[in-house]
């Protein structure tokens, strides 16, 4: 059996600030909206995937939702977990192990943790907060932002990438956010605004960093046959791949190359496309550098030329590669992890339901998640037609 796989439904929870909702509540809200969008009921769901809250989270979520799925995936490898989930669900549906899988994420990161994400949280935690071997990094005072910053610094040194080029990514992403009523920040910004914002970890400024928000979303994958019956516009999974290079930034083999250099070409090959076929790119923009390095790794620009490519205006609507058309993590929403939002926005674009942010005639969309400290990468190619 090798069945084709389609997106049946997508849904978004409230956001970007929901002090009255729990993380589980946001997940339930997103799940409910995705099943409604698909025209399914919860009894149609026989697989569930989720990530982010330690052991058995997806089991707890299933109980909360009143589901008893026979297929579970709790792969939790940072923000790209959801591209891993999509890959695993895609293969399992192809093979006939499961028919309809919901992938769900939601978190009230802003309301519970505030804006400290990525810059070191205060307080103790005892020796448990210093687990081996991460203690070698944590005792230096390095932050999550700092880990990305060291990679960006090396790219600048090796290739002459500039702070202005990185900033241009934030500027273009904000243009998309300005069209999204649910985005956290919608006022247009300039390169000078980015460079004038506070340095958090050199060379990354505050506006090079993603926002911290509340929010959630859900995506349902099913067989082509099932999706056809549901009557929503068909969006096919055409290819997917996932990989990793390291955990701590100290172990990253090359600070200027991510596992996207493997997962991108692999997913593209399965999808029967090349970089020039991609109409819109949904890229995990934890930081401007994450976008820049993956533009290169997925082959949209040669290695070392991601900065010039981005600064050319390629990421705008009407540009060569409209990217993060919902305003991204940099401006719209980032409730701790963002990987699933990429797949939902890619679907919205391919259905032609993106309103003011619609990429005209979009037929191929790529969602590329990044997790940890550029550690784990997952690429999913979606399209309006099967391979």
């Amino acid at each position: 059996m090798n069945r084709r796989v389609c997106v049946a439904g997508v849904g978004w929870a409230d956001g970007p600030k929901t002090p009255d909702l729990t993380a589980m509540g946001l997940q339930a809200q997103a799940f409910g909206r995705a099943t409604a969008d698909a025209g399914l009921t919860k009894s149609d769901i026989d697989g569930l995937a989720s990530a982010g809250y330690g052991g058995m989270h997806e089991v707890q979520l299933a109980e909360y939702l009143g589901l008893t799925p026979h297929w579970l995936d709790s792969t939790s490898c940072g923000g790209s977990s959801f591209e891993f989930h999509a890959l695993h669900a895609y293969r399992a549906i192809q093979a006939g192990d499961v028919d309809t899988v919901a992938i769900v994420y939601g978190n009230n990161e802003l309301s519970t943790a505030g804006r400290s994400l990525g810059t070191g949280r205060s307080g103790g935690g005892g020796a448990a907060a210093m687990p081996y071997p991460m203690s070698f990094e944590l005792t230096t005072g390095l932050t999550l932002v700092g880990a990305y910053a060291m990679a960006a610094q090396r790219h600048m040194h090796q290739y002459g990438t500039t702070a202005e080029q990185l900033a241009s990514i934030a500027v273009q992403t904000r243009e998309h956010a300005a069209r999204n009523p649910h985005a956290m920040y919608r006022d247009l910004i300039t390169v000078d605004d980015v460079l004038g914002s506070k340095l958090v970890a050199d060379p990354l400024h505050k506006l090079d960093c993603c926002v911290v928000s509340d929010g959630g979303c859900a995506l349902i994958l099913t067989t082509e046959e099932r999706a056809r019956d549901l009557g929503r516009p068909l969006v096919y999974v055409r290819g997917a791949a996932a990989g990793m290079t390291h955990h701590s930034i100290q172990g990253m083999p090359d600070l200027t190359v991510t596992a996207g250099a493997v997962t991108g070409p692999k997913a593209f090959a399965e999808a029967g496309i090349g970089p020039s076929d991609v109409d819109t790119f949904q890229m995990y923009d934890s930081f401007t550098y994450t976008v820049l390095v993956c533009l290169e790794d997925l082959g949209f620009a040669p290695k070392g030329e991601g900065g010039a490519f981005a600064a050319s205006g390629a990421l705008r609507l009407g540009g060569a590669l409209p990217t993060n058309t919902d305003g991204g993590g940099l401006s719209a929403t980032h409730p701790g992890m963002r990987g699933l939002f990429l797949l939902c926005e890619a679907t919205r674009q391919l259905r032609g339901e993106a309103g003011d942010s619609q990429v005209a005639g979009a037929e191929i969309a790529v969602a590329h998640g990044s997790g940890g400290w550029l550690s784990t990468m997952g690429t999913v190619v979606l399209g309006t037609e099967p391979v």
């Binding site: 070191g120 005892g126 070698f136 005792t139 700092g146 958090v200």
Partner: protein, 141 residues
């Protein structure tokens, strides 16, 4: 808080068995790293197997303590109290002269504006408790 060092107890890692020799070295002022007899490369942090080739034929050597900055950042925002008092400070990835071993460490005597990639550095040790010192690096001419 351990009074002599100024390092709060929650920043003192437990000494795991594979790293005991490394931490003992830091108290003596020696930078101990593992060298693989099979491929000849070094590595850090300490492990049961060589991450380069997978061999378990590892021996401990005392490194020269000299290396080169591969990359760095300046931490300007940090929520953990000890580090909050320190900002801005430089954290670097340092490649030891012994091939294969990369450290992550502060360069506490390097002003943010003087940090550069490829600068030569040498190790120094900051006492953190009776049983360990933290590895840091400073400029080396």
């Amino acid at each position: 808080m351990s009074d002599e060092t100024g390092v709060p107890s929650y920043l003192i890692p437990r000494i795991s068995p594979e790293a005991a020799e490394f931490f003992a070295g830091t108290v003596r002022g020696e930078l101990r790293v593992q060298r693989c007899a099979s491929c000849g490369l070094h590595h850090h942090y300490p492990r049961m197997f060589c991450p380069h080739c997978g061999s378990d034929e590892l021996t401990w050597v005392t490194a020269s303590g000299r290396g080169t900055v591969h990359s760095f950042t300046v931490i300007r925002q940090q929520g953990i109290p000890m580090f909050k008092e320190q900002v801005p400070f430089v954290v670097a990835l340092v490649d030891l002269d012994e091939p294969g071993a990369r450290f992550i460490a502060q360069l506490p005597t390097v002003a943010p504006e003087h940090a550069v990639i490829d600068m030569r550095v040498q190790v120094r040790f900051r006492p953190a408790s009776e049983d360990m010192a933290f590895v840091e690096f400073e400029p080396h001419e």
